[in-house]
Assembly symmetry: C2
Homo-oligomer: 372 residues x 2
């Protein structure tokens, strides 16, 4: 299911085999929360190099409904993506978006905005939803503490995450669908390790590492990542959830992460932030108005091959959707190119040099997350 | 410059030769007001069959500026469209959008929203702007009366339109750019004919027919169109401005119109109105939620070849930009297909049968314009 091809330091190159094809790792998954990578067709997403997407079980459950998508032939058929699809449980989005009313041991209570009803997302329900969606990789429901939660709260959410993972593992039916647990534990070494150990004992097909890049510093993130990763089995894939900035990708690959996802490249694009090897910039700035060169010199993405920065700046000023599309293509291409280059460097046992060289071209930052 | 290939009744098939290629007529031009067909790339616009676009001189003058676009290599280079580009003068949009402060004989006074300055768009300025943009076909500035204007007002605007056309013709410099006058005259037979006659005496390369499909009935529109068209020389192309619904296209082709433009197919699409041979429908309606078939059965557009109506309904419910793109592609394909079929029917001398058959499949309406 997961084949490790090369190791360079702690960095790994591998292949994840899923019911919808092999995914070379390290890999980056564009976010298709509602069964669409905003502004882009599946064909375009594939063209910029993505082989796996992540969608959101909770959002699709709300609308149009998991059973409905099952009747439509499953999520791949429904959205027209023939490659690998991960589904996140939705716990993170539920809590982040203010949907949730209360997290209890039984599950997450929320108000369904479409119907007004009070409902509960339980670990078992989450398994059921993802089975109906037919994703290649399902994630166990986790309880992700908000950044800044005290030790007691993190302890509680970690305990709950493990209990939910166990219930999810019990509820899971045999199928080709892979199933990943999610390591929580905040920024606490013991909790991270305890959580990882407990999940490993449940023998998941792979492991998500959650609760990071939500406000902590880069140093804190890397420590928590390391504590999590060093307890995980080498033979299983590791998926750092919600990370998509260039520096964090490379630093996390160095810690042995195989899989990433983030809405940042596409969300940034819709807000006119362009990702490049020299750091991000805002296309709205007047200095780009008459630049005949592309978004990034030397870039061979579909946008840079065809459009000047001046034209894209014009589309930005008009807040035009074509501009958001073209910026999304560029940013995704950039991130997919970056992880592909990292993979090549690992295979050639030159990852540290590649990373150092690349990072030296980026502005120095200490916080996690993306500027927008 | 314009070659008439076939006539069937009053319907005509021809070829318009411009500095950026030949355009087979009847033709329909997607609207790229601000040098972009909203949501779509030039490549996609070409793929659905368009060979000419119309952009707006006034809007581009406001931002990013005609001189700027000239410095960027002209409008074709700037927006990446290698085919024919018409530019409308902008008088219609200026008046329609409430930009204008006062229409005087010297020109249209307006407040520049970007700078706050009071400026005037004169016939001469309009020629200058379009020359700088480098469009293939420029339109003379016209004074288009609002629907419901009394006879005195229509008389005044028609007189002004002719006077402005004369000044524009005088101001025009020799170049490869073609130059069209615009026939006004409201719904008045004498004014339509007088205006057309006066413009013909100025010997434009072609003639726009303006001020129609703005609220009058279909019968009124066709009468005013006929009065205009019968005064125009057979050897010059005729362009009915702002018409893009299926029935009006076919009825106007029957009156001898060669060229059309309208924002309706793309604007409808962004508001989830789908155009088909059986009439328009709103994709937002619940009855489309679980339809596995495409937007229109038998349609071979890029959207219908790849996506179910159920998925597009889902994108509609999420108000997703990919959905707007895919609906735009479908609607443009539909209109381009329709005028191409009309052309074939004219060449085969079977246009009346084609039109009657097609119209019999559409819901009957008496008003002009599109449902949304």
């Amino acid at each position: 299911m997961f084949e490790l091809e090369a190791i360079c330091g702690r960095a790994r190159a591998g292949k994840l085999k899923t019911p919808h094809g092999k995914v070379e790792t390290p890999c980056f998954m564009p976010v298709a929360t509602k069964a669409v990578v905003k502004t882009l067709t599946p064909e375009e997403v594939r063209e910029v190099g993505a082989r796996a997407l992540i969608s959101n079980a909770f959002h699709l459950h709300l609308r149009p409904g998991a059973k409905f998508i099952e009747q439509m032939g499953g999520i791949h058929q429904f959205m027209g993506w023939g490659g690998t699809i991960f589904t996140d449980s939705g716990g993170f989005q539920l809590i982040r978006s203010g949907f949730e009313l209360k997290v209890r041991d039984s599950g997450i209570r929320y108000k369904n905005a479409n119907t007004g009803a009070i409902e509960e997302l339980s670990p078992e329900k989450c398994v059921e939803i993802q089975a109906a969606l037919g994703s290649d990789v399902a994630m166990a429901l986790d309880d992700c503490p908000r950044f800044g939660t005290g030790r007691e709260g993190v302890l509680e959410s970690t305990r709950r995450t493990v209990a939910w993972a166990r219930r999810a593992a019990d509820a899971r039916k045999e199928s080709g669908q892979l199933f990943f647990g999610i390591v929580q534990g905040g920024l606490d070494e013991k909790l991270r390790k305890d959580c990882a150990d407990a999940l490993v004992s449940l023998d998941f097909d792979g492991y998500g590492i959650g609760g990071l890049s939500i406000g902590e510093s880069r140093d804190e993130m890397l420590k928590a990542l390391r504590w999590s990763a060093e307890c995980l089995p080498a033979a299983k894939p590791r998926y750092l959830m919600g990370v998509g900035s260039a520096a964090e990708l490379l630093n996390s690959i160095a810690e042995g992460v195989d899989i990433f996802d983030s809405a940042f490249p596409t969300r940034n694009a819709r807000h006119w932030t362009i990702m490049t090897s020299a750091g991000n910039y805002s296309l709205s700035r007047a200095e780009h108005a008459s630049v005949k060169e592309p978004l990034e010199e030397g870039c061979v993405c579909p946008t840079c091959r065809n459009y000047s920065r001046a034209y894209l700046h014009h589309l930005c000023k008009e807040n035009d959707m074509l501009g958001m599309r073209l910026a999304s293509l560029h940013n995704l291409f950039f991130v997919e190119w970056l992880v592909a280059e990292a993979r090549e460097a690992i295979l050639r046992k030159r990852f540290p040099e590649f990373r150092d060289h690349f990072l030296s071209g980026l502005p120095q930052k200490t916080e996690t997350g993306e500027e927008e």
